[in-house]
Each structure stands twice: as C-alpha cells, then as structure tokens.
C-alpha cells in the first residue's frame, strides 16, 4: 500500500485516503474530433513497466486532484504535482532522468 504526498494540502497519507484516477495528461477531444483522436482520448492508455504518470484524488482529505510520477515496478514515487498543468514539472522530469536515464513516456522524455 503506497504512501503519497498530496501537493495541494501537503498531507502525506496512505493509499486508502486517495482514489486513483488513471493516466495523467490526457487531452480531451470533443465534437468535431476524428474517430481516431477520439478513440485515443477515450480508450488508448499507456501500460508501462517503469515510469508512469497518474492522476490521484485526495478523496478522504482535501478532495483535490493531483498528479503523481511513479515507477510501476519498484513503486518509487518520483514526485507529485498539481493537476492544473499540461506537462510534468521540470524538476520531476530531471529527477526521473537521474534515476531512470533514457526514460520516455508518451511525448515526455
């Protein structure tokens, strides 16, 4: 069972206080989008062995969504950050690079 630090309220808590919300940094496609784009948005997901970016909600705490960068094999948490962004912050990417040189995830490296 993981521990995560909610970047919004600063509380470090066990997984039971949180609710996992799947993959982070999805771009929404709505009316007018092509079938392929819409399919990607709705159904296609990363399933990496290693570095991953996820959405979590501090459901039993402040109620806020945030993002976590995590290793799916070792469960190392590289960092958590605000959900109001289109890409992971540089310091987290740098940290991952330090720990997992050569990593890539979708368009991020």
């Amino acid at each position: 069972m993981l521990t995560l630090t909610c970047p919004v309220c600063g509380v470090t808590a066990e997984e039971t206080e949180f609710h996992g919300g799947g993959e982070a940094h999805l771009k929404r496609f709505g009316p007018g989008a092509s079938d392929d784009d819409f399919e990607d948005y709705l159904f296609m997901r990363e399933n990496p062995r290693g570095v991953h970016f996820e959405r979590w909600r501090h459901a039993y705490g402040c109620g806020k969504w945030f993002h976590a960068a995590r290793c799916t094999t070792t469960l190392q948490v590289f960092g958590t950050y605000a959900a109001q962004t289109y890409e992971p912050p540089k310091e987290i990417c740098d940290k991952i690079t330090g720990e997992r040189p050569g990593w890539s995830w979708r368009l991020f490296k």
Binding site: V8, G10, A13, A59, Y60, C62, G63, K64
Partner: protein, 191 residues
C-alpha cells in the same frame, strides 16, 4: 417551527477508556473562495471572531472558529442560532467576490472524544499519526475514519472534536464506543 435536533440528540458514553459526547447544535458554514482574497478572509474572520488558520490548521474558541478544509475552502464555526445572520453578513462582506457560502450545520454531526486515551482510540480508526509529537492542538486533519470520511482537531491536550456526515453519525458514534471499549488501552500515549 420546532426545536432543531442533532442526529443523535445528546448521546454520550463514558463506560470505556475515553469519553464520547455528542456536540450540541453547532453552526457550520462552508465558505469556498480564493483564500488569499481579503474579502474571503474577512468574511470568515468577521463572523468567527478568530484569526485565519494556516494550511492544515483549525483556529477554534468555544463554538466559534475556522477550519482549513482545502486551499479554496474553509469551515466557519459559529453559534447555531446565528448562522442565518452570519451567512447574510458573509455575503455582504464578499460583495462581488466569486465565492460560495452554504449552511452545513445540519449536514454534519460532531463528537468530542476526551481523556488520556483519546489519542489511542482515534488511532484505531484513522490512518494518521496521532502521537503527541505528531498531532497537536491547532492542527486540523481530514481523513478516513474506518469506512467513512471524517475531520478532527484537538480542543485541548486530551480532547478531540470530530466532524462527520449526519447520516453516518450513528456509525461514527458506534465506532468510537467500540474502540473505547473497556480493557482496550494501547498503553502508548499518555496525555
């Protein structure tokens, strides 16, 4: 109009290792807004008559106070019968400021958990470090209590005030009573 009642209407228990008391009617107002905005701060402090708490804190005196719920939400405590007037006052202070004010006094139930073993009783139910070095008066924590959401702070060195949803008041009271059953001291935290 008849007299309003709390969910469990004056329930209490002192048969175990801690005392559990249902808190009488308590005015509670949810205030959502930009907590850095002067109007929002003033709206809260103006009716609670206490200073703004910091992140993760509660600043409460008797039945008045402000609890920090999240970066855009406060829970303002005031006497039950003053809620309507206070909401009016808060709306005036807020003016055109984008904010949401809602009376949640009846949506919640509140309990006091007291005695030297109160920390131990609560630590049976919440995944929170409740040792005296880690959780102190002034702090405010929203978390999970067994299977339901709850929030609490310390009124003094050995008394917690707990807030839960009204519909779950019986469940929370029963939980506390079971966790305080005679002979269940953990012999760990001594207030």
């Amino acid at each position: 109009m008849s007299d309003p009642v709390t969910a469990l209407n004056g329930v209490s228990s002192d048969s175990g290792i801690a005392t559990i008391t249902g808190v009488p009617l308590q005015g509670m107002i949810t205030l959502r807004g930009d907590l850095s905005a002067a109007a929002v701060k003033n709206a809260a402090t103006g009716v609670a008559a206490v200073d703004m708490p910091g992140q993760g804190e509660a600043n409460c005196v008797e039945n008045r106070g402000i609890c920090w719920m999240s970066p855009d939400e406060l829970l303002v405590l005031c006497p039950y019968e003053t809620v309507a007037a206070n909401i009016e006052k808060m709306q005036q202070t807020l003016g055109i400021q984008h904010a949401l004010v809602a009376n949640v006094s009846d949506a919640r139930a509140s309990f006091r958990l007291g005695g030297p073993r109160a920390r131990e009783v609560l630590a049976k139910l919440c995944p929170v470090d409740l040792s005296p070095g880690a959780f102190t008066p002034g702090m405010f924590r929203r978390t999970r209590m067994a299977q339901v959401p709850a929030a609490f702070w310390m009124r003094n060195a050995d008394t917690f005030q707990i807030i839960c949803f009204r519909s779950q008041a019986r469940y929370v009271f029963d939980l506390l009573k079971i966790s305080a059953q005679p002979g269940s001291e953990v012999h760990l935290y001594h207030a």
